[in-house]
């Protein structure tokens, strides 16, 4: 599983794991029913304390992204994660705050940012449209 930990960003490690797994689940890179690595394995891979991974898995289970079979592994949930509205709001707001602060530093206005968001979205959509064609080749 492709997860990276960044110690400089100011985000707690377990939160980074939670966010990245959520993203992997949301983007379909890991499928519903797929088994997540064992706590020990992921801890070894990321070189973090297993308690952090355990905490991340607990939170993922709480928010419904994964479910734990009793003592036998953790699996991605079938249904879409039911994150509380508040929680989803908070995640996005955090990202927006960071983005705005950065933009202010670099002397971009809010309008510039909005324009760039739409431009990037268009670019991502066209790249996704090219994906199946490239895979077929």
């Amino acid at each position: 599983m492709d997860i990276t930990i960044d110690l400089d960003g100011g985000v707690p490690i377990y939160r980074q794991i939670v966010n990245q797994i959520k993203y992997l689940a949301a983007s379909g890179l890991i499928r519903p029913g797929e088994e997540l690595p064992a706590i020990r394995t992921l801890a070894l891979q990321l070189r973090v304390t297993p308690n952090t991974v355990a905490k991340a898995y607990d939170e993922l289970e709480r928010s419904g992204v994964v479910w734990k079979r009793h003592g036998a592994g953790t699996y991605v949930s079938e249904q879409r994660p039911l994150l509380a509205h508040q929680e989803r709001l908070r995640i996005i707001e955090q990202r927006i705050d960071a983005l705005l602060a950065e933009a202010h530093q670099l002397n971009f206005s809010v309008e510039d940012i909005v324009r760039m968001i739409q431009k990037r979205r268009a670019a991502m959509e066209s790249a996704a449209a090219d994906e199946p064609a490239r895979a077929a080749r």
Binding site: L7, G10, I13, L44, R47, T49, P50, N51, E102
Partner: protein
Amino acid sequence: MSRIIVDVDGLCRSFGGKVALDRVDFRATEGRVYGLVGSNGAGKTTLIRHLLGLLRAESGKVRVFGFDPVRDPVRVLSRIGYLSEDRDMPEWMRIGELMAYTRAFHPGWDEAYANELIGTFGLDLSTRIKELSKGTRAQAGLVAAVAHRPELLILDEPSTGLDPVVRRDILDAIVRAVADDGRTVIFSSHLLEEVERMSDHITMIHDGRVMLSGEIEDVRRHYRRSRVRFADYFEAPPRLDNAFSFEGGGRTWSVIHGGPFDEFRASVVSLGGEVVDSRDATLEEIFLARAGRHEPLEAA
């Protein structure tokens, strides 16, 4: 309620008039990883030696598994796996003999696990310890320390001076000890990135005193690194609440500070400035701010 494995309360110790530990408190509960950081000579090894019963407390209390390691050395040491800072092992022994000798003292020795580690590290059982390189010595010492599955694993600077491959081995052992067996690990290190990743709880010792102690995330959240910009030009670092260190100069400063963020921002604003951005401080920044050399600031 988890078992308390290590309980150090108000520990004081000095050597020939020089204070090595000053009212140190330290508590470790079962199944967690405890990181100890501090400058050279700050007192990390001294604290660890108290846990092993190698030093007597001058005042205060030291209990491991509920026992005093000085009065009950056998009961305490039989459940501890220890890797010393200097990897002190008899030079004349061969690696195989070291394993056999350690095994005799610990009935919980897991031969399969030991062999697995020896195979992974590629250790030759017939080489003498005096012929080993630094890294191989650490590996041999590590196998002897973890193979009997101790309830408490104490590693004094396990990664210092070792190449990344051996460092990885050490970290793997820590992870396995905690994840597989629910054991407790205490390790001291200079490599703050490693401590940040691997610890659940961190204790920073400076000049024999505990400078900060808490869950890793709490510690990181508590300390922030903020960039502030003032209207006026400052020669010397401005007086801000809970600030520990400053970088920069003139109008723009980068500050490491603790405490509630609002208090800090208020003091910035009161001096005619604004907080440009702010994030959690890294462990290295916290360490340098609190233990590094800089002009004495307003007490925080």
